[in-house]
Amino acid sequence: MANVRDIRRRIRSAKNIQQITRAMKFVSAARLRRAQERVLASRPYAKQMVAVLRSLAARVPTDAHPLLAQRGQVGKIELLVITADRGMCGAYNTNIIRSALEFLGRHPGQVELNILGKRGRDFFRRRPYPVRSEAINILQNLTFADAAAIAKDLIEGFAGGERDEVWLLYNEFKSVVQQRIVLERLLPIERMEDPEGDGELEYIYDEPPEKIFSTLLPRYVEAQVFRAMLEAAASEQGARMSAMEAATNNAAEMIDSLTLHANKIRQAGITNELIEVVSGAGSL
């Protein structure tokens, strides 16, 4: 039977772990707030961009643009997977990697990977999947320029005809405790219809609408990538915060039950000694 000193040691180590997880929880809570603000701040831009594109799409023959063109035979597919750089965030990385593997399974031999985040890189490094590019440690201090560079690379591969489709796989930030894995097609861009149908509004174009449209589309792709990265960064912090919260609670529970156990053993020892003293006195 375990003695009191062993149990005390286990309590101490559980307490240490609890302190660490609690600290990590606070750190990610602070980061989460910042990441959340950035996600919210980036939404108006994306929203307006879509609105402008929609109203343009109603006026311009859009089929002609290379970024909108569907390819009849889909050969090579590119997948951008956004994982975290660090662990300790529950099932966050496992889930996204599992989805990536499912995607790879559905399109055997067609997919090339672009990986963001150390966790994803480490996972796929040991496996026989083609990885075209990887980037680590950029989600922490994400700038639009980073996202734009990645988007540009994706656009070039697509427009150059090396790849027929580009997909994004990331966690969407629903709420602090809820993330949703999203798999969406980045290229070719979905045809945009004008839902409000205010197509009768005649614009004055400063330049030919085709030209405006074709400069806007790459920007739209950049904005999409940027938004996906911001969402993923916020989700990561959210996942880490709830994981650390759960770990802190589990540690507290463990400390409680160990303390109870230790007290019981101590009590049992005292009772034993008492019995020995009493029975010793009785035999005199």
Binding site: V52, E202, Y205, E207, P209, I212, R219, F226
Partner: protein, 145 residues
Amino acid sequence: MALPEKIHLEIVTPDKQVYSGNVESILVPAQTGYMGILPGHAPLLAELGIGDIEFTADGVTECVACSWGFIEVLPDRVVLLAQEAELSSDIDLKRAEEAKARAEKLLASGDPDVDYAATELAVLRAMSRINAAKSATARQTMRKS
């Protein structure tokens, strides 16, 4: 029909919403040259270059340094999607001047590795920010005197 007196302006960048409010007039750097917009303007769509956006709200003129974007003008509102946009009050004049000096030095260095087109754009961007910051301070001193 009487023309509206104000027009709703929104300036958004990928990072944040820079400005949202009702203004009396807007001046933007379109690709084809500076363009003024007053309330009741016909619908218009234009690409923006590097330069300063100026708009007047309640008689006060604000200046925003902008590098590349789009403007959509509707009769009652203007949406400005800018790649980068900084209110003149947020611009660090010293940093802008340093950036300009750095880029100019690169241009003058004659180094074959320098991306001239990109560096020239950097100079233009820095100049637009310096302009925006300076015109804002100039206006402030004028108002005070």
